[in-house]
Symmetry: C2
Subunit: 214 residues, 2 copies
Amino acid sequence: MKATVHPSPWSGDRNREREIKRDAVLRAAAQAFNENGFHATSLDDVARRLNVTKPTLYYYVKSKNEILFECVRIALERLKSAIDEAGASGGTALDKLILAMEKYVGIITTDFGMCLIRIGEDPLPPESRKKLRGLKAGVDRELRRLIGQGIAEGLLEPCDPKLAAFTLAGALSWIGRWYRPDGSLSPEDIAAQCIAVLTSGMVKRARPKSAKRI
Amino acid sequence: MKATVHPSPWSGDRNREREIKRDAVLRAAAQAFNENGFHATSLDDVARRLNVTKPTLYYYVKSKNEILFECVRIALERLKSAIDEAGASGGTALDKLILAMEKYVGIITTDFGMCLIRIGEDPLPPESRKKLRGLKAGVDRELRRLIGQGIAEGLLEPCDPKLAAFTLAGALSWIGRWYRPDGSLSPEDIAAQCIAVLTSGMVKRARPKSAKRI
């Protein structure tokens, strides 16, 4: 079964092989967009990064717009799946929400996740933008649902789940703007500190007075 | 002195008049970018919104790129001034930080503020992007300074001011992505709820036990 895990170009599993190569094209393009911007990146730049010719690229993707659409779509679908998984895991609604936030940061710090935040759907035609916005709404809906559960379970402060979901998504998504894969902080460190602010707040909590003092 | 406050086209104060009209051009363009995206907006669209001809626009701005640069620059300079002002106001570092966040939301929900977040500098040439990133770094530096002060004064939980500043900026900036001027929530309502999450956290704080129960 090894051939399935590490498919060889000679394995005959052409669909799988094509998928892997297409993924490499999308990933190289996302890295170029993230580093230099969407408009400043040409398909020639992407081909150069992969050390292939431009006609080779066209075997996997039709256009720069198709690449961006796919990068953003993949990131949004991963976010949605991650939050769904967290929602289906054990524990309280707060445990689920924290797990969802950790997974969110993990995805937002990948090439596709950063591309979602740095470039997003703006350069695409209206029809594509509409589809991607539909996926975004799905991510948002799941976050709201988890927050609503947390309030219902008495673990979160009563609040407007819509606004709270936007606050979480904003703080976590923003990481995709400034994160550097070669920086000193790991996605896990960043997630931990960001989640601490969102769950416990920045203001120092009053220490409970000790029994002696009463 | 009325003529200075409401300059008339015949007042001879041509510089001031030009500035007001240029501001109207930038604002109309920002609204168009925010509603339809930068790429889908042409200078013809902007001229139509203002009910003027395209040649008239060229009297105030050279290009769509110049418009976007100015919209983003103005938003960033307003953010910087607002945080500086909050920093120079009275009270504790926490009071200053809260005031800075309120002002931040006020600016991010204007046409230029939304344009900063929805479009940003990505479509612009490298030189312009570099200048705008310098301004962004200034905004970020001021936020970090206020957070550092809050920790020094013992009012904020000890944390990495850099990460905390990014968390705040992310949550507050994200508002510019989803805010609708014709929506049901005012910028003040949004600011209050978002700031409550950032300062106090989402998790319900344990109620101090009453003396009776001890």
